[in-house]
């Protein structure tokens, strides 16, 4: 059966009371356009990285909204930032910024969210 793309998944629940929404909040606060995604999947269809390997931006979107941030880092690092997704997005979402924010957010929250000033090279 699995060869046809069908499989029986084990039942599972997501506890909305518990989930880690820091990353979602962080991304939305800097890129509000992310709110209007309608999960059409256009980004995933055109994706240059998705053409090379199993990589699904639309799924990424879903995972963040569910607070399932585990394993996200490995996934998001597949993106090559080429920008095709931004051009095809019917909602005009600035997807490249969303990706960069997720990448940065993961580092920020892994290092207990210290101020990001130390990242620059100041004179």
């Amino acid at each position: 059966m699995e060869k046809f793309g069908f499989a029986i998944r084990e039942t599972r629940t997501i506890d909305f009371e518990q989930f880690d929404e820091r990353l979602l909040e962080y991304v939305l606060s800097y890129e509000p356009s992310f709110r209007v995604c309608l999960s059409c999947g256009g980004c995933t269809a055109t994706c240059s990285a998705g053409n090379l390997i199993d990589f699904n931006i639309r799924k990424m979107n879903l995972l963040i909204r569910r607070g399932e941030t585990e394993g996200l880092e490995k996934e998001i690092n597949k993106c090559m930032l080429c920008g095709k997704c931004v051009l095809v997005c019917p909602r005009g979402i600035n997807i490249r910024n969303v990706i960069m924010l997720i990448k940065k957010g993961i580092v920020l929250f892994n290092t207990s969210g210290k101020s990001d000033q130390r990242y620059y090279c100041h004179a």
Partner: protein, 610 residues
């Protein structure tokens, strides 16, 4: 107060300034890379130093670059800088002649009129007093213009000027006061002792008629000294630090020191060289989208003030228009990319999923680029042309290939980009091709600059097609159309390719000459370098450019970048073509040529059979 103490603020100010500058310069010199230090040692005793002195004189004192932009603004800067310089030089000559020796107190030339009151009649004394008055008048005219400019900057060809912080204001106001106070002090002295010339003497006589100059003279000299002191003390923390730093920058640049991918002392030299004149503000197209706080001058200011944020740093199209305007020549684009690299250093991808692809043996590799895949007309045109010209080519990213790495580079993901570059480079080299044709200027720039493709000639398709036309491989076919050629930022300002596309186009259509072309061309607004801008803001930038283009009433727009094409075609009713489309469209009209090539191939085939 002891009479002689009035020069103290000046002396303290100068001493402070010299110490700070020496410490700063030493810090920067130490922070340079080893190779750069060797560069300095190798070049310091060559003609490059002389050239640097000449350039410092031309830009630091005469301000030729600003003159070109606006003569009045240039005059203002020149009268202040060059005038002050002359005051110092002539003042010293005057003192030497008066003293008949080279040793005299450090402050004497500045307060010469105060100390030398009698008609001494030393060699050329009259002429020198006259010259000093003339120079002072020259400087005062500059100060007058500067004060006027603060309130009416439009007359100086500038719509916007930068906002000042406290130390800038202190420095600015003391600078404004220095020369009027010097004038007053000299006038008061000459009113009492008749040691002035055509400017100070009549003024002195006039003041003497109604002011108690006896008791006013010393306080005014003190105020003059004080304003000098304030200016020198506030200089290192204000924007006027650009005066000493710019000279250092000119020398280092002429010695061949360049910005690195990572931030180093040379980046800071450039940061401090910025005078915050604000010339980069007017030219920035982001103004049209209502984004007014992320321009280059503010980024440099934020780096100095330690207040940079991602929202400022990444909200820039990196179109390079500001870099063309900068009178100091700060590498604004690369400065921003360096900061982006630093700020994203902690989260670079490794792309360990990349596999070594299989290269096809071919003479020419064609790399369309991600953006070209969204504008299929371009790649189809290129394929048609290759087939027509009978080129043995390999379409490298026809099915699947990693991105070229430039979008990552623009986002500061340098380490990640390197992974893609290495992967692609291996693939390209293993194909044995001698030429790499690229359709996207964004890819072109990275292939040219960051790939180590030594034996392979990288060409943008506009260059390549021009070569085909020149060699009569594809026929020219002039059509009665007048078009505007839009220079893509990465190809034009980025790689200096302005003439080849125009020459190619002239074989097919007439290219209109417009104001905003070549170095001054617009950005389409679609730039991948801006990670923060919203779609609606991009549209405003695009519409601004289109509006300007439409005034020339072109039959259609031609560009040579898939992203520009895509951006523009969303916003206008007239057709937007890529240069490759223009060429390939006209191939179909000349069937004769096709036949000729078919015959040629048949001939070759037959000879091979025999």
């Amino acid at each position: 107060m002891h009479k002689e103490l009035f020069t103290l603020p000046f002396t303290i100010g100068v001493a402070f300034l010299i110490v700070i500058i020496v410490v700063r310069f030493a810090q920067w010199a130490r922070g340079l890379s080893k190779i750069d230090k060797i560069r300095i040692w190798k070049n310091v005793l060559t003609v490059k130093s002389l050239l640097s002195i000449k350039e410092s004189f031309r830009e630091g004192l005469l301000h030729r670059n600003i003159f070109r932009k606006n003569p009045l603004l240039g005059y203002m800067h020149m009268s202040l800088a060059f005038g002050w310089f002359l005051l110092i030089v002539v003042g010293h000559i005057e003192t030497v002649l008066y003293k008949q020796s080279l040793s005299f107190p450090f402050h004497l030339p500045l307060f010469f009129r105060y100390y030398v009151r009698e008609e001494t009649g030393f060699f050329l004394s009259g002429a020198l007093t006259f010259t000093m008055d003339l120079i002072l008048l020259f400087v005062l005219s500059g100060v007058g213009l500067a004060v006027f400019k603060r309130f009416r900057s439009k007359l100086f060809g500038m719509k916007k000027t930068t906002k000042l912080k406290l130390s800038d204001k202190v420095a600015l106001i003391s600078l404004w006061f220095i020369f009027p106070l010097r004038f007053l002090a000299e006038a008061f002295t000459s009113g009492l002792y008749h040691n002035g010339s055509f400017l100070t003497q009549p003024a002195g006589n006039f003041f003497n008629s109604f002011l108690p100059l006896d008791s006013l003279m010393l306080p005014v000299w003190f105020a003059y000294s004080l304003s000098l002191g304030f200016f020198f003390v506030s200089l290192p923390t204000s924007r006027y630090m650009h005066i000493p730093t710019e000279i250092l920058f000119i020398f280092l640049r002429n010695y061949g020191i360049k910005l690195k991918k990572r931030c180093n002392a040379f980046s800071f030299v450039q940061v401090y060289s910025c005078s915050r004149c604000g010339m980069c503000l007017d030219t920035c197209q982001m103004n049209g989208a209502g984004i007014k706080t992320t321009q280059s001058v503010y980024v440099l200011k934020n780096i100095r003030n330690r207040s940079l944020t991602d929202e400022t740093l990444f909200n820039c199209l990196l179109c390079g228009r500001c870099q063309q305007e900068c009178p100091v020549g700060v590498e604004l684009n690369d400065m921003r990319i360096t900061q982006r690299i630093e700020s994203t250093l902690q989260y670079n991808s490794s792309y360990d999923y990349l596999q070594e692809g299989k290269a096809e043996k071919a003479d020419v590799i064609y790399f369309a680029g991600c953006m070209t895949h969204l504008t299929p007309a371009i790649k189809k045109s290129m394929v048609d042309i290759f087939k027509y010209a009978g080129v043995n080519y390999w379409f490298m990213d026809e099915e699947k290939a990693p991105c070229c790495g430039r979008p990552l580079m623009l986002a500061g993901q340098f380490e990640a980009a390197k992974k893609l570059i290495l992967n692609n480079q291996k693939l390209i080299e293993s194909s044995g091709a001698k030429m790499l044709i690229v359709s996207c200027p964004i890819c072109y720039k990275v292939f040219k600059e960051d790939y180590g493709l030594h034996d392979i000639k990288v060409m943008h398709h506009s260059e390549y097609l021009l070569e085909l036309v020149r060699n009569n491989i594809i026929p020219p076919a002039k059509q009665p159309h007048a078009v505007i050629y839009h220079d893509p930022c990465e190809l034009g300002r980025g790689c200096n390719i302005y003439d080849q596309p125009r020459e190619l186009l002239e074989n097919y259509v007439d290219v209109l000459k417009i104001n905003d072309e070549k170095e001054l061309s617009f950005c389409c607004g679609g730039s991948l370098a801006n990670l923060k801008i919203q779609m609606a803001e991009r549209d405003k930038i695009r519409n601004g450019a289109l509006e300007e283009y439409m005034r020339y009433e072109p039959d259609f727009l031609v560009t040579s970048c898939p992203l520009c094409k895509k951006t523009f075609s969303k916003g206008t009713k007239i057709q937007v073509y890529d240069i490759a489309e223009i060429v390939s469209k006209n191939l179909k009209t000349s069937r004769q040529r096709v036949k000729h090539i078919k015959d040629l191939k048949k001939e070759i085939y037959q000879t091979e059979l025999i």
